[in-house]
Symmetry: C2
Subunit: 237 residues, 2 copies
């Protein structure tokens, strides 16, 4: 539901390829509403469509405004992104913090993420027009993410933040304790069948293998495969 | 320290622009060691250098290998990335989970993040060569991030995970309680100077303004600016 409330606004984008790549990043991350403020290139050019890949409809439906103020009309909250620390004295939120705010406010009204020109970013007044400022942490001092990369990072972080906690992590279908015990029993029997002679007892020998296998998150199908390995080994013995 | 232990491996990249954009993403996020397995294009072409922006040295120093196995030699842990759910039955970690594992293992030995071909990703055997698999969550079913975008997402998430917790959030320099109280006292005095007639008491009137200003994280400089506003207003009165 939230994506319909989120506008991605590109202010005076200069390269059509970046608009296309931004559209692709948006679509992958569930966003669809692209606004272009006085684009300096053709957002439906061949280059834009090529970079958009399967997201051409986002380019087709992009809204064009003449000023940032016009593109912000109707929104209740907006985040200006910047890769340039123009002023050290202004609070810049991280993308993760901005995403939390955007999601919270998107439940109330329309919201916007605003990206500046490739060559010069947003003006100080454009930054001031927005409700909050954000900057992605970076290992370099100079501005270094390009426009499409910045849209990628923010779209990704926003989508991540919108997922339910259980969808943010892989859900293992881990094998139960008994399944593992059956495997260790099978391993002991197989070693006996193979004619193994443990230095002390078979139980102590198996305990050494337990140290390896207990370190692995094993799913039921993994345990089944290990059973198969033992069957192969015994058949071969 | 960790970035020297992380290899970004691109398997048979087809478009030079993607190699350049990947280098730019790497540099911004503090990574520098690029490996190319049998590149299908010129990684030092004009297009690659243009997209690399300030990261040309990563292209210059990129290592070339003939096979993924060769590029993995010397690593102790590797994550294969995929945007294609080839097999639903294999555990795929999220980029965040993969980043935690990569960082933990990078303290022990060299590690690698592996990205496949633009057209067809990694083969099943290439996926199997790596220690773990990862996929970025996506709102679309079809593969949709391009190669450079995938490198951007993983590099960003890895850099984010490498930051100390206090560096992951904006550090407010919030004004102390006394500073705010001084402002409210100044506000009461200014309203009196302006000839205000509160409906009940001045204290109750000020309490209404408290409801607004207490909702804002105010830094000392913000409070100073509000003092200035009162001075301007009284001068004008």
């Amino acid at each position: 539901m939230f994506p319909q409330s989120v506008r991605i606004i590109l202010v005076e984008p200069e390269f059509a390829g970046n608009i296309g790549a931004a559209a692709r990043a948006m679509k992958t991350m569930g966003l669809s509403r692209l606004w272009l403020v006085a684009p300096q290139c053709d957002p439906k050019s061949e280059e834009a469509l090529r970079m958009a890949h399967n997201a051409e409809e986002i380019l087709e439906q992009a809204r064009v405004a003449q000023t940032l103020a016009e593109a912000l009309a109707g929104t209740g909250f907006s985040v200006a992104t910047s890769q340039r620390l123009r002023r050290q004295d202004v609070p810049f939120y991280t993308p993760e913090e901005a995403a939390e705010m955007v999601l919270e406010r998107a439940a109330e009204h329309e919201v916007a993420l605003v990206f500046g020109r490739e060559s010069s970013g947003l003006t100080n007044h454009e930054l001031a027009l927005c409700s909050a400022l954000s900057m992605a942490p970076s290992a370099t001092k100079l501005p270094s993410l390009n426009l499409a990369q910045a849209v990628m990072v923010y779209s990704y972080v926003l989508y991540q933040a919108s997922l339910r906690p259980e969808d943010r992590h892989f859900q293992w279908q881990l094998a139960a304790h008994e399944e593992l015990e059956q495997f260790y029993a099978h391993l002991a029997q197989s070693l006996t069948d193979m004619g193994a002679h443990p230095a002390t007892t078979m139980e102590a020998y198996i305990d050494k293998f337990r140290r390896i296998f207990s370190r692995i998150p094993l799913e039921s199908r993994d345990v089944n495969l290990l059973h198969k390995l033992l069957e192969e080994a015994v058949r071969d013995a």
